[in-house]
Symmetry: C2
Subunit: 389 residues, 2 copies
Amino acid sequence: MNDFRLIKTCSKARAGELTTPHGVVLTPVLCPVGTQGSVKTLVPQEIKELGMRMILANTYHLYLRPGIPTIEKLGGLHKFMGWNGAILTDSGGYQLFSLSRLCQVSDDGVIFRSHIDGSQHTITPELAIHYQESLGADITMVLDECIAHDERRERVWAAMVRTHQWAERCLKSHKRQRQALYAIVQGGIFPDLRKQSAEFLTSLKFDGYAIGGLSIGEPKSVTFDITEQTAALLPSDKPRYLMGVGSPEDVVECVARGIDIFDCALPTRVARNGALYTRKGRVDIENAVFSQQETPIDTDCCCYTCQNFSAAYLHHLFRSKELLAYRLATIHNLAFMSSLVKSIRSAILNGTFDKFRQEFLSAYQPTDEQTRISQKQKWLETRQKESQD
Amino acid sequence: MNDFRLIKTCSKARAGELTTPHGVVLTPVLCPVGTQGSVKTLVPQEIKELGMRMILANTYHLYLRPGIPTIEKLGGLHKFMGWNGAILTDSGGYQLFSLSRLCQVSDDGVIFRSHIDGSQHTITPELAIHYQESLGADITMVLDECIAHDERRERVWAAMVRTHQWAERCLKSHKRQRQALYAIVQGGIFPDLRKQSAEFLTSLKFDGYAIGGLSIGEPKSVTFDITEQTAALLPSDKPRYLMGVGSPEDVVECVARGIDIFDCALPTRVARNGALYTRKGRVDIENAVFSQQETPIDTDCCCYTCQNFSAAYLHHLFRSKELLAYRLATIHNLAFMSSLVKSIRSAILNGTFDKFRQEFLSAYQPTDEQTRISQKQKWLETRQKESQD
């Protein structure tokens, strides 16, 4: 039920087909993020209409609230949230590192405090698998130990070794074969550690391979280099998943380096901050330049938002902090990503991906560092209000 | 273009048909509130699918942001917000009193400071009409002087006299006859002043008559008594509009007293606080009792929310502060109000309204005062975050 079929390659870029218990997912694919069992502001029908066939949900968040037994009792995550497409769950490794207060990480597992109420919990590799299986995820992930991008080598090495031990335990406790289990390659920014990690994990029988611990603060050239080197070490007949990436430009660049699956909160999160994607780059809809614009944000865009509303109206909704603003912006950014990924796939199938990549990147102005930082700041300020993803 | 046809009465309750430049509106009708040109969380298509044919928008808010000239330039309010049903605009009288910082109220008009940025503005009866006509409203309202419910009689009298003078000036400056103009009866809680106001205003040629200055803190029995007495003084061939009411029970009670049109932020506002309407009364979806409920909030409800999601999922979304919560709750409450008003109309047409009223009110538990106050408090706390309506 979890077959991956590589259909075509174009240089290193790959077009494939991933069969899951909840339908076929064409790759490359970007999974929108439904951290707490909801892709923020949207109903499942809209997500499907946006062309999305797989979403990401978060074991850490769902474990804390409403609790795994509740979701299981209510028929599993698909039924609970009314989504009949595929669901990929992360194990919680990254949230344990970024959100919770860690009490103790040992070979056995992690003792942590909830970011919601401070209560103490324990997670082990076995429990991480058990929780994801109980949720009914189509693709589950091993528990990994995440650390900061600028840790020294010995620390990175130790976390990698622990991630390997945990991966073996996850594989052993993985019972429901309908649900795929992916390993996570770690090793930070050290090519030799990445190689060691990829070799170890590919010697075990996982359904797919993720690259973890990237895009967490390191320079972008490093992200790209490590992605390229690591992807090259992974078996060509298994899906490759780059965790937590990406922006439009990063998706194009990392498809070019051999990645099949992406998940990222960026398109939906920046949407709620008024940053909308266009072929020329991100625009800030709150900018006064849009206050009188009768045409939509992007006249070439077929999304519901652009087909029905002027940029001026969106500008007004954002300035007025109307809740509809966040929904219309989310629709637009996901439609942009959906269309981008579809174009990428067509280009790979047509053997014209290199040309597509070049044209896309020459038109698309990447977000400058300052905007990136100020929007990250804005997000940090609102994350308490909105709940994280 | 703004004809009202009274089709049937049942005791004092009336069923009618209001023809506007943007379609026929069956009465009784409750207008959802789109204060700033958006019924919070919903797109126009959804509002229509909920059976709504007329919404209320707010001249005061739209004047301050994005500004009347902007909306006019963009083709008027209908085009701006993508709504092709009818729009009723209030003149801003109530918001001047409740939101802005009043600087000076004189016979000429009102000088006030914006609640957004403190900037100073002037509004006169003539400008209030001009703004509403520029917005392209189907029904416009005279500028009235609003005061607190517990003002002494002389003050109420003076505001009423000024409201009358302003009404005459509004009528004189009312140019676009396709757009209806309604007067607002004032006079506080004093039956003789209400009588004086109704007599004066009905001696002028308005398209409809509103009852203002109620449901702003006075006891509910007073709201009902004044509504009944005032409605009885209004011409039977013109629509009667009770401003700022109401809750499900208030709508039933005031239809029984001869009201045709209602507008109220309550159904949408309480929805965003997790208070959902059922035939038995309002329930608080955040209550632990819903945490495991597999069935929807209301098993008899045909709304999108109840047809697709369990109460447990809604409970989870609210507890997690997911933005989708507010949208799904808004849909449910508006569907409830839409269905209620439809049932009321059927009962009037069938001559069974008195029975309907009795049955509805015996099943529906009105919200107790304490819940009302604590939810008002919750709303006040969030109003800065969300922007007012």
